[in-house]
Symmetry: C2
Subunit: 335 residues, 2 copies
């Protein structure tokens, strides 16, 4: 099955590049609202399921026992920019369980946020694991390990209690079975499982509505969504799509990027879950697709539509700031 073109990249009046992909929009009963392309093919959700990976942190009582703030819960769901505030929040999470950056196994990388990278270089400081965009998730895993009474040192291993609990949670929420044949290693070294797009959309419809979840899980999901809606900067950072969407729409949309062209989201008021995979892994296209779907299904006011319109058709500028083209969703997305 050939997935359809979802986004075109224009230079002047010419289509310069094209992104294909698949989209599943479902309600919390799994009823399909929109299906484009192959939504049965397993897709690695990567960082887009961090909120699902954080559910046990709440359900086990770890968040309360260690007194995690809403900013810290948002960071547990984040792929953050490595800005100073993100780094400090990750550090604070670790301090709550008596650990520090040396306990993180995610690896170090430079901050994604250029001014933060420049400031770090100017200060002569090497990037650490705290700057890794996944450091909040990892700090959350370490909190969960402590709450479970497990040795935190092996927390990345697939058979560690933390990863076993996370896997069971994803299986339960998405309704998919995660077999070893669909397991890979993520950028931050945690196990990741490929899941059919329609199941990821269902998982996010449940995450957004609580429908189909046990009461404790529905409560944990609502708490994580509220933390992210209140602190969207902690979920990504300055200039980032996830942050801007939640800054503009608040609790009406929870969206989360994953590497390789994945976007997952839920529109709680519409009762919908959304799963996007850009075939080629292109993040720019996945953002446009998600923006177009929010516009289509989000029951937005005129003011909200105006506020997110530039995300649906972003202008492309060159190094001199000249507008040289644009991204645009294709007709099948706009509906």
């Amino acid at each position: 099955m050939t997935d359809p073109v979802l986004v075109e990249v224009l230079r002047g009046a010419v289509v310069e590049s094209r992104h294909r992909g698949a989209v599943a929009v479902v309600d919390a009963d799994g009823a399909s609202v929109l299906a484009l392309g192959d939504i049965d093919r397993p897709v690695f959700p990567r960082s887009a399921v961090k909120a699902l990976q954080a559910l046990r942190l709440i359900e086990t009582g770890a968040a309360d026992r260690y007194g995690l703030t809403d900013q810290e819960l948002a960071l547990a769901c984040a792929s953050h920019n490595g800005e100073p505030g993100h780094v400090a929040t990750a550090q604070a999470m670790l301090a709550r369980i008596g650990l520090d950056a040396t306990a993180l196994r995610c690896g170090a990388h430079p901050p994604m946020h250029m001014p933060s990278l420049v400031a770090l270089c100017r200060a002569g400081v090497e990037p650490s694991a705290l700057h890794n965009n996944c450091s909040g998730k990892h700090a959350g895993f370490l909190c969960l390990a402590c709450a479970l009474g497990a040795d935190p040192r092996g927390y990345l291993e697939p058979d560690h209690p933390v990863q076993r609990e996370v896997k069971a949670t994803i299986e339960s929420v998405t309704g998919a079975t995660l077999g070893d044949d669909c397991r890979g290693v993520d950028g931050c070294s945690v196990p990741t499982w490929a899941v059919p797009l329609k199941h990821l959309a269902l998982g996010f419809a449940r995450l957004g509505t609580g429908h189909g979840l046990a009461p404790e899980r529905a409560k944990a999901a609502a708490r994580l969504r509220a933390a992210c809606a209140t602190h969207p900067w902690h979920v990504a950072g300055t200039g980032r799509f996830c942050t801007e969407v939640m800054q503009r729409l608040g609790a009406r949309a929870f969206v989360k990027v994953g590497a390789e062209g994945v976007y997952l989201g839920t529109l709680p008021e519409a009762g919908l879950g959304i799963a996007v995979k850009c075939d080629d892994g292109g993040a720019r296209a996945a953002e446009v697709v998600m923006a177009a779907l929010i516009m289509r299904f989000g029951k937005l006011s005129e003011a909200e539509r105006a506020a997110v319109d530039h995300l649906v058709r972003p202008t492309l500028r060159n190094w001199n700031g000249i507008a040289i083209g644009a991204l645009r969703p294709t007709a099948i997305l706009v509906g």
Copy 2:
């Protein structure tokens, strides 16, 4: 027409992403050796035609008049990393015509080479137009403007003598007509025209063999290729695909990347030109396609095949250095 999948991205044993695209391989008479996907669709070659844009610099005598070195000619054909040596070479080119960085109209951007970016930040220096990957091409344009007796200030305008000469050269070498309906503005603000892939491949077959070119042009092409083969670091830089291919194969392959998934190349001994466009603009896939085509058509020795094999199937590693997957060309490319 749906272009075929050319490159798969594996995570573990699962295909995580897929890149489609088109490929034209032709000889200097325009006879097709390999055609995959839509090779008639106009494609912006972007920076991949810098060598064609530099031909007039030699033919007009500008290179000799201003005493440009082979390193400087290679830089005129380059999308460089902004490493200190690249910056110094661009500066030296401008000094030969009594100009400096203020004459460049390409805009400033941080060096693509991370250690150079870090060093710049540590020194508290802002990136300038000299760090722009196109600064050598622009310095070449300014040399050409001076040689033509034209005011260098407007050298980016489509009706400036420099751009008129460049356009006529690309039309002549590729055999394509460049209409205003196919004109865009490039990342560095020069005009760029979309050209069918088969014409770009023909242009590079001619560039590599001199066949089909006037004697002066064939000589200029050979001089540029020799400069790039002798100084491949100046064409891109540390860790870059173009540089590594030419370091390993010398004058047997001239390859040049363009933005948005373009790669152009020529295998002079095989008498072939190669044009690649990854539909989605993915640079990683365009590199794999070019590597696979060099392997297939380059008449390489066993030692040379061993030296470029890692470019055909690059291993993907995460932030901890763990091998988590690979890129691989599909069967239609390997032949």
